[in-house]
């Protein structure tokens, strides 16, 4: 454990009958960082966050917060963390303000202090004008902001966010991302799960990629971007139709996809693939109208890493 590690996860597993939802993962989170937990749907992100926040008991392994066993010190640990679960909701039959003061009471915050904090947070998250409206009258973006306010009522040291911008409109998404950055700048450690590589890339100091319950990569966004360069593509605009199965058999080429009037070719070796494509089109007497080598999208890289199943 590094001096600054505040969350330590060692050989953590969670099995539901025969399903290994999380399988022997180990990582640590440093004080003050935004730690991204990235993976496709069903990868084990939510199960991991549920174990970290004390909702699910691990099948095996250890979780420590500040060196203390999380399961044995549940109440003390929960006092310093806060969580916004992916599918969570505020209490729809309470007003925005009542939702916040209720959470304040649950965290043992004094009456005056919780009213002050609730007002401050509602102003900061642009909900103050609607504070006495029932939460059921809020839009989805407003509900998500209210959930974040609820999570911040206790001034947590560690904030868990499960897909915080999923399904939100652009404006709400930007507000939330900016506030995450701001709270992190003020010293809060943030553990973020997402299946959106762009969100992870924009916000996170380090990113762990999980798939089928296994942690397959843990690195900084810069290092992950360096890996991305391995995964390049060619956009080919031929004068005639290509036979995809033939092109896929060429050396250096992994996959070919027809998109409108061009072919998006994912390659293992860019130079080799270029030579092969030129030779192939010459052989087939097909003219090349245009040929691009676009940077792969983050989505493609993510899929590539997931598919390669590399273990860290």
């Amino acid at each position: 454990m590094y001096q600054s590690d505040i969350i330590e996860v060692q050989n953590l597993s969670k099995h539901f009958d025969l399903l290994k939802a999380v399988d022997d993962i180990t990582f640590s989170v440093e004080q003050g960082e935004i730690f991204g937990f990235l993976g496709p749907n069903g990868a084990g992100k939510t199960t991991t966050i549920r174990m970290l926040t004390g909702v699910l008991k691990p099948t095996s392994g250890i979780i420590k917060f500040y060196g203390q066993d999380a399961w044995k010190n549940q109440i003390a640990v929960k006092q310093i963390i806060s969580n916004v679960p992916e599918m969570a909701n505020a209490y729809l039959d309470l007003t925005g303000f009542q939702n916040l003061t209720f959470i304040g009471e649950i965290y043992g915050i004094s009456r005056n202090e919780r009213k002050k904090r609730a007002d401050d947070l509602l102003k900061k998250f642009e909900l103050y004008k609607r504070k006495d409206d029932l939460a059921k009258k809020y839009s989805k973006g407003m509900k998500q902001r209210l959930l974040l306010c609820m999570a911040l009522m206790s001034n947590p040291k560690i904030l868990f966010l499960d897909e915080p911008t999923s399904g939100l409109d652009v404006q709400s998404s930007i507000i939330i991302k900016n506030l995450i950055k701001q709270y992190n700048k003020d010293g809060m450690t943030i553990f973020l799960t997402t299946h959106n590589m762009d969100v992870a890339n924009e916000l996170c100091d380090r990113i762990a990629i999980i798939n089928k319950g296994n942690l397959i990569r843990l690195d900084t966004p810069e290092n992950l971007r360096a890996i991305e360069k391995k995964y390049q593509a060619i956009d080919l605009y031929p004068s005639e139709q290509l036979i995809i199965s033939e092109v896929e058999r060429l050396a250096g080429i992994e996959k070919v996809k027809k998109i409108k009037n061009y072919y998006h070719i994912i390659v293992d070796d860019l130079h080799e693939a270029m030579y092969q494509i030129i030779d192939y089109t010459k052989l087939k007497k097909i003219n090349i109208k245009k040929l691009n080598t676009p940077e792969p999208t983050l989505e493609e890289v993510f899929v590539k890493i997931i598919n390669s199943g590399e273990k860290n």
Binding site: R50, T53, G54, V55, N73, I81, A90, E105, I106, K157
Partner: protein, 264 residues
């Protein structure tokens, strides 16, 4: 790091933690009362059923005023104090508020205790209505023993509220499912209890906890206990044992079932 640890895990004694959790259970109760008092299943089971059952039992029958009021009080308290408990867990699972609540610094026992407080208050408040009605319409204020009636309502309301927690143990997110289970268990208990009639020592009567509460209310309104010289002690004892048994059983079962609610 050590300083942070000490600051973060500011050690509290077990007693301080106990009172912290107790205070937080009151917050849960306030939230439950605000949210659930007007929910369909609560209104149907807590208000509509007592009225309908009262009409079914009493109309056209020649029943003495004490038995009318004790039977009605008993039914109202039983149905109202068991109306919120079974709804909270499936409702919160469906509304997706339960997971957020569980990650707060409270134990499952605190959440359950909060549910008990809200059901308890709901039961106490509504059971006073038929008693006031009895005093005003039938002049029962002349014979009433306030202390016995007061203690009976408090203890029975606690006992039935604890009992109601068991009904929400199945890890469903559909309140209607628990309501069906609730009706299947609660109605037979009402039917085997000697509501609107004197207490008998029939074995089937002794099975129902309502019989002991009914005996207490009868005694509080001027009748003698149907269970003999120590009848009142037996009534109080049985209700307390019943209440604590189901409270601790619900702590255990809900603790186990919580994992299943968030499976996968």
């Amino acid at each position: 790091m050590r300083k942070i640890k000490e600051k973060v895990f500011n050690g509290k004694s077990k007693i301080e933690n106990f009172f912290d959790q107790l205070r937080r259970s009151f917050a849960i109760a306030k939230k439950d009362l605000k949210i659930y008092y007007n929910k369909g299943p609560v209104v149907i089971q807590g208000i509509a059923f007592p009225i309908m059952l009262f009409l079914a039992f009493v109309v056209g029958r020649n029943i003495t005023p004490i038995y009318i009021i004790s039977g009605l009080t008993c039914m109202v308290l039983f149905l109202t104090s068991t109306s919120i408990g079974p709804v909270v867990f499936p409702w919160e699972t469906r509304q997706k508020t339960l997971e957020r609540l569980i990650t707060c610094p409270i134990s499952i026992k605190t959440i359950l205790l909060g549910n008990v407080w809200s059901s308890f208050l709901f039961g106490c408040i509504f059971s006073v209505v038929p008693l006031i009605l009895g005093m005003l319409v039938y002049g029962l204020w002349k014979s009433i023993n306030i202390l016995i009636v007061f203690l009976a309502i408090i203890i029975a309301s606690f006992a039935f509220s604890s009992f109601s927690l068991i009904l929400s143990v199945p890890p469903t997110d559909t309140p209607a499912n628990t309501m069906i289970l609730t009706i299947l268990i609660k109605f037979p208990l009402i039917f085997v209890s000697p509501l609107f009639t004197p207490i008998t020592l029939d074995p089937i009567v002794l099975i129902s906890p309502l019989s002991y509460f009914l005996d207490l209310i009868n005694a509080g309104l001027g009748k003698t206990s149907g269970f003999g010289e120590y009848g009142l002690l037996i009534d109080f004892g049985v209700l307390l044992i019943f209440g604590f048994f189901f409270l601790f059983l619900s702590f255990f079962l809900h603790g186990k079932m919580l994992q299943k609610r968030f499976k996968g």
